[in-house]
């Protein structure tokens, strides 16, 4: 299920968001939970799968590896995909004015 533009999964979006600052494994999990106000609780297995996949597809890169943990950060390609998704989501919210009535 490689990402080819279009809607991103929630897991992907939050991981990219969290990796705007370099981070690794467990801290990343906690950051995602914080940023989403506890709404998104990502399991470690899920996180690992998303990280591996996005690294392969060039959205994030490994900046450090001390044997125990790999540190990741977002790439320019990843930032672009994130921005695009952000704009898409914003448009969706803006178009949903009818729900605010």
């Amino acid at each position: 299920m490689s990402y080819s533009g279009g809607p991103m999964t929630e897991a992907m979006y939050y991981v990219l968001l969290a990796l705007m600052r370099p981070n690794h494994g467990y801290q990343l999990m906690q950051l995602i939970s914080q940023v989403s106000n506890g709404r998104v609780e990502m399991g470690p297995g899920t996180l690992y799968g998303v990280l591996t996949r996005m690294e392969k597809e060039g959205f994030i890169r490994i900046t450090g590896n001390d044997g125990r943990r790999k540190t990741y950060e977002i790439t320019a390609h990843g930032k672009l995909a994130l921005k695009t998704e952000y704009i898409r989501l914003q448009s969706m919210i803006a178009d949903s004015a009818i729900l605010e009535e």
Partner: protein, 389 residues
């Protein structure tokens, strides 16, 4: 002093939820998983514990360091690995969040493993396809299948092929079931962890049973060299001395003489003898060579007499090849249940007789007459232990 106990898994690898349930159940009984193997798992005997088990599947046959530590940092304790499968556990009271919060993502994580399973099933299929011509030959072209089955343990040749078919079936079943699991996950339905597990008679046990039967039959079947004295009274074997009149007949190093007795898995007794002698004075008219009579006795004891007729028919079909003739004639008899005779020229006689569970096949080349032969066969039958006169 740690006490360990081994148990057969008896749960298919693709029944991930059931395996997890089983380990949890064992922990409740005080058997804590120590090592997971392909067929068996090793447990450490201790206090009952309320543990949750989860199995993580990786793309390669080992788990990466960062993957392992991420799970450990999240509160899961590593237990054991077996190829693509890695077992983690956590005490229930620790309330550790699930390893996978997104079923769709988990479906993705199973894909590399699924590819390997599919590849293995393809290889097994390819091997079986190579065996198909052999099977066709065995089943459709070979003659006298019952004879080979009873007297020559022919089922043994089918056993490796049977193994392969079982493994093939099991491989593909695993592939389909795993695909099913993937689809379920892709539809957002997580693996049922609390599912009731059933430890089933698995493929492994079936294969083990077949191997056992094979082993037993090898152990009990076979023939050994034996002397005529040893089989006297045990099997009806016609000796040359009882039908030949020439006193100068003697054994010779050049001449074949052999007696073997034993059993097969299904036939309690089998005796094959070949006797030949040469005369010092008597000669054949047509070429002047010294007279050399020979007699073959093939005796088969059926496990029960209902089998005799079917076996006889198959035996004749088998011998049919050796003598390539159609002229077997069935005769009535006061003594024998069945009597079948083939005569070729003046010198060759082939006689089949059955009585109850006894089957005898005699091939004779010499001057004695058919009647003399039959008389002797009857005598040797009566000499057998347990036969009434």
């Amino acid at each position: 002093m740690a006490r360990y106990s081994y148990k057969f898994n008896l749960i298919d690898f693709w029944r991930i939820g059931e395996l997890e349930s089983w380990y949890e159940h064992m922990a409740e009984k005080g058997y804590i998983l120590h090592e997971m193997g392909r067929m068996m798992s090793k447990f450490k005997k201790g206090e009952p514990q309320a543990l949750t088990y989860r199995i993580e599947v990786t793309p390669k046959q080992h788990i990466e360091e960062d993957h392992l530590h991420l799970l450990e940092d999240s509160g899961w304790d590593y237990v054991s690995s077996e190829q693509f499968f890695h077992v983690f556990c956590a005490p229930k009271e620790r309330n550790v969040p699930e390893i996978h919060s997104d079923p769709t993502e988990q479906a993705e994580s199973l894909q590399p493993f699924f590819k390997v399973m599919k590849r293995n099933a393809m290889i097994a299929t390819f091997i079986i396809l190579l065996c198909i011509p052999l099977l066709i030959f065995n089943f459709f072209i070979s003659e006298a299948p019952l004879y080979f089955f009873l007297a020559e343990d022919s089922f043994m040749t089918y056993i490796p092929i049977l193994f392969f078919f079982i493994i093939l079936f099991d491989s593909w079943r695993g592939v389909f079931k795993l695909k099913q699991l993937q689809r379920q996950l892709q539809n957002g339905i997580p693996i049922k962890h609390q599912v009731a597990f059933k430890r089933r008679i698995s493929v492994f046990l079936v294969v083990l049973m077949i191997a056992f039967v094979n082993f037993i039959s090898i152990l009990f079947s076979g023939v050994e060299q034996i002397s005529y004295d040893e089989i006297k009274g045990e099997a009806p074997v016609v000796r040359l001395e009882s039908i030949e009149t020439d006193s100068t007949l003697h054994y010779d190093e050049e001449l074949v003489n052999d007696v073997e007795a034993g059993r097969t898995l299904f036939l309690p007794k089998v005796v094959n003898s070949y006797e030949s002698k040469r005369s010092k004075q008597l000669r054949y008219e047509y070429d002047g060579m010294l007279y050399e009579p020979s007699i073959t006795n093939d005796y088969y004891k059926m496990p029960f007499s209902n089998l005799t007729n079917a076996f006889l028919d198959s035996l004749i079909e088998y011998n049919h090849f050796l003598t390539s003739s159609n002229a077997y004639v069935e005769h009535g008899s006061n003594y024998f249940d069945r009597l079948i005779i083939l005569e070729e020229g003046d010198l060759f006689r082939h006689i089949f007789v059955t009585k109850d569970e006894h089957v005898l096949n005699v091939m004779y080349h010499g001057f004695a007459t058919t009647d003399e032969l039959i008389e002797q066969i009857e005598k040797t039958f009566k000499q057998m232990k347990g036969m009434d006169d």
